[in-house]
Chain length 217, copies 2
């Protein structure tokens, strides 16, 4: 299962007060192809309840749900996989607990991490952050589009670009090598998350098509 070109990472503090389920539902209508539930502050109980709601909602559309970090919650709600960072459960343990079919994505912040990830059976590498971003502050600097292009040359994995991406720069990130664009605020904070997703989706798919034309596989 592929995560597809438009990847939504949730943030309950960035929904303009709207319920997260509503924002996610609208975003999926607009073309989001995978959703990662990220809850760094919430108690486990409310995290698991939200995960269950999103899983039910996404099951209707076939869009996979990934859980940030908490492998137990992914197992508990029957999510499709997890996204792990370098400070989360190590990949081999996550894979062992989740089994061979789960989608596991891994954030990379350095070239050494990119190379170390080559042996892992990953759904994607999260190249993070591409640009400086206020929604994730525990990272070590940003890759930029040049860095993204370097990761593209180093890695066999699909690449999800994340961090400071929006309709204005998503196309350039795809041209530099991203297979998928992850956003938080570009959809969650949008007045109409569906319309924002539709626009982003069209831009990304167009850039992917242009790249395939230029560099046929």
């Amino acid at each position: 299962m592929n995560v597809g070109p438009l990847y939504l990472v949730t943030d309950r503090s960035l929904t303009r007060g709207r319920p997260l389920e509503e924002v996610v539902a609208r975003a999926v209508q607009g073309g989001v192809t995978v959703v990662q539930l990220r809850e760094k502050e919430a108690p486990t109980r409310s995290f698991v309840e939200l995960a269950r709601q999103l899983k039910a909602l996404l099951a209707l559309s076939g869009v996979p749900l990934l859980i940030n970090d908490r492998v137990d919650l992914a197992l508990a709600v029957g999510a499709d996989g997890v996204h792990i960072g370098q400070e989360d459960l190590p990949y081999p343990l996550a894979r062992q607990l989740l089994g061979p079919r789960a989608l596991i994505g891994l954030s990379v912040e350095t070239e050494a991490q990119v190379l170390a990830a080559e042996d892992c059976d990953l759904a994607y590498l999260g190249v993070s952050p591409i640009f400086p971003t206020p929604t994730k502050t525990d990272t070590r600097g940003s890759w930029g589009l040049d860095g993204l292009a370097r990761v593209r040359r180093l890695s066999r994995h699909p690449l999800v670009a994340i961090g400071g991406l929006n309709a204005a720069n998503a196309g350039a990130a795809v041209t530099a090598g991203a297979d998928s664009i992850a956003v938080v605020s570009a959809i969650c904070l949008a007045e109409d998350p569906r319309e924002a997703a539709t626009t982003l989706s069209a831009i990304i798919r167009q850039a992917l098509a242009a790249r395939r034309k230029e560099r046929p596989v």
Copy 2:
């Protein structure tokens, strides 16, 4: 497997700067019968590394290791079980993920929670907090010894008393109905954690013996 009479809950910020493994090792030498690793702030990666170290250390003595909240980490390191609070993963999900042999302890803060827990297959109820305590601030008031005695009458489960317990009041908590006394600072902050555990262990065992004499089963 029983958790035994002296239950250590870890807190890395309360070790007087000593490595947690050292404090735990000394405490086990002094008679601690179960260890719960609690890490509310640490990144998952360092939590799992610490859990692994403690599991290796405790395996030598046969003292069970419980992990606070994180079922995935318990599975990852082969811990003996988990301690869950009312805001953590619901009991049925934790049991399903951990299997029938795992030890699961549950914190209760109200009588309604005590009654709801009767249907669960628990290693113990954590009656929390008995007295007000600075190491756990997210609770709803304290049970007191009267409250602990009420829980004793309501529940079929072994009771672990936690919150503000030390050598001065552990005996009274046992007399009121506790089968086990959980401490954080009474051992972690002690100049000699081994000696503190030895003293507590003797007090608790004496009170348990006196209770058995008074109310033979």
